[in-house]
Amino acid sequence: MTTVAALLVLAGALLAFLGSLGLLRMKTFFERVHPPTMGTTLGTALVLAGSMLYFTALERLVLHEILIGVFMTLTTPVTYILLGRAALRREQNDPGA
């Protein structure tokens, strides 16, 4: 049980790692927006599932990690819509650089 939880955490960490690598390697801003979302959605979900499974296997049923999942699901699109709109306007007003 704890082995499965650890593997879930590893998979989530791998997604977050690849997302950050993409953030570093991509050329333009609008390409760079995409990779980190892997870590914020599926990466976070996998790490939270691993954490829930681990603590449930340890003693009793633990579900409060769902709170972080709901919070991230609600806030990430808000942030990215604001940021994307800001970037679009800034690139239109002052391209280059």
């Binding site: 939880a5 633990v62 942030t79």
Partner: protein, 93 residues
């Protein structure tokens, strides 16, 4: 043997998350324009939250959950405020 494997796997996950934070910090320092830096800051916050959660698993303590929740909330507020500032020139109008 199983406990060793679990600890080894979690250590590998923590190494990956630390590297992810380093990459995001690199982009934060390098990013040519302000919105690149805000995006890197958001990624840095998310990776830090995941790292804190994995620390909670390794040390088998549920207190780390609150820390992760607060870091997630701070990440959202700071990124949203910075993006609003870039969009309008003011945070609260």
């Amino acid at each position: 043997m199983s406990a060793d494997f679990v600890l080894l796997t979690l250590a590998a996950a923590q190494l990956l998350l630390a590297l992810a934070m380093a990459f995001a910090f690199c982009r934060l320092l390098r990013g040519p324009r302000a919105h690149d830096r805000v995006l890197a800051l958001d990624t840095l916050y998310v990776n830090a939250m995941l790292l804190i959660l994995s620390f909670g698993i390794v040390w088998a303590s549920r207190d780390f959950f609150e820390v992760a929740l607060v870091i997630g909330a701070f990440g959202f507020v700071s990124t949203a405020a910075a993006a609003k500032f870039l969009l309008r020139g003011e945070v609260i109008e």
